[in-house]
Symmetry: C2
Subunit: 249 residues, 2 copies
DNA sequence: TAGTGGTCTAGACCACTTG
DNA sequence: AAGTGGTCTAGACCACTAC
């Protein structure tokens, strides 16, 4: 009942079901920032009353967003908007040194950071008009005093302007928290693609590896809460340190 | 009500909740073969009556097993026990030739198949006593008249005896359907681990690649419905044909 | 038309967390 | 003790699939 105004093409689970519509409405509030990451959303009973539906239905709507990784439920405490990815998750692909190295955050050394004109494919990825500008960042990452990874990062430029103002010395080692604090962007999902090739001469010297050494290449596209691509990243590392586990079904 | 005898340590979601217990009971029936793969299980209403619970509760129990990949629901038709993996899923890691090659099943050439004494680690994997025997299979897989993959496969031996009787000419190209029809084993889950190294001389010649060519190694452990490991497989292929996509959150 | 799963209601009580 | 999510009930009606 109650003709709640649910005008949404948020591309959530919006079937025609009531809980699907409400899930989309909740998602809209999260994306808009009404309910910021880390905060609790109103209790089930409150929401049920607001939407004029039964408890079971609002629970179903919430379950959808939990499934999508947007919400997190904690018994006795409440339902919380999930914080974005920390970015350290890239280390899942590599095993350098000892077991402690798995959780360690590699030190970041910014090699360069400049505004560039994006090529056609990159602009399309970022849903920007052809010829738009972006931020091109080159970064080297260290673990235990050894250079381990080489990263080329592209960011869409109107959105990430704030980064240009901030001295690279204040960037810290992780990009995603920076995107959150400086640009108000929450990285909610990332798609990684792994391939294999050999290192070019300049890459090899930066990683202190022999020329033409085999390397694993991880191509990452990261997305914000709305599902818009907000990062394109190319990471290169020693192929012999690569190790990845996939669970099928 | 109804002290249904739910004696189960099936390690399902068995919390103490009613639906958790029932989920475990349903799982037991699937594992035991009461409800074979591909078949429909009784309707919600029937099960609800049998267990003496409400419809919503049996639905919750079924949802658990759907989540675990054991059941599949189809509106208007029923709830079905999922068939096992087809095995072709290994090709997800490689892209040989054209786009059609993604779905194609590579031809299998059995290089050798013999009974061996399993080493300690392998016996433990299969939950067999130390010194137990197993089947060691060496296989080469072809795509479009080119050798593409090299596989070393170990199977636990009392369980897979039937394979020894069957002439390799009748094996066909896929192992998992064979395990199903010959040994009554359903492969329900697999864990793959990827690393990189270079090819040994004998491997390189079998794959018609230069000696010491870079290769991707996929180590697979496959599990049956009970969660017991029933295959250990080592697959080697050209590293330059490797490509894998991971979706984070 | 009959049977299936999908959605939804309006309650109840329990388990956990916090002040 | 108050507030939260977790479990469970006993119904209702709808949408899809078969025959």
């Amino acid at each position: 009942m109650r003709d709640n105004d649910l005008s949404l093409k948020t591309a959530a689970t919006a079937g025609v079901s009531r809980y699907g519509q409400i899930a989309a409405e909740l998602q809209a509030r999260i994306v808009s920032g009404d309910w910021p990451p880390g905060e609790a959303i109103p209790a089930e009973g409150v929401l049920a009353k607001e939407f004029g539906i039964a408890l079971g239905t609002i629970r179903q709507a919430i379950a959808v967003l939990v499934q999508h990784g947007l919400l997190e439920r904690v018994q006795g405490k409440g339902t919380f908007v999930r914080k974005g990815l920390t970015g350290g998750s890239l280390m899942r692909f590599f095993r350098f040194g000892g077991a402690d190295a798995v959780t360690a955050v590699p030190r970041s050394e910014i090699l360069s950071c400049r505004s560039v004109r994006l090529d056609k494919a990159m602009a399309e990825r970022f849903e920007l008009p052809s010829g738009a500008r972006g931020l091109a960042i080159s970064r080297r990452r260290w673990l235990e005093d050894k250079p381990r990874l080489l990263e080329s990062i592209w960011l869409p430029l109107p959105r990430c302007e704030a980064l240009q103002q901030l001295p690279v010395a204040q960037w810290g080692d992780l990009l995603y928290p920076l995107l959150g604090s400086q640009c108000g962007i929450t990285v909610h999902r990332a798609v990684d693609e792994v391939t294999f090739r050999t290192l070019a001469a300049d890459e090899a010297s930066l990683l202190e590896l022999p020329d033409a050494h085999p390397c694993a290449v991880v191509t990452r596209r990261a997305f914000d809460l709305r599902g818009t691509c907000i990062e394109y990243r190319l990471t290169r590392g020693d192929a012999y340190a690569f190790r990845y586990t996939a669970d099928i079904r």
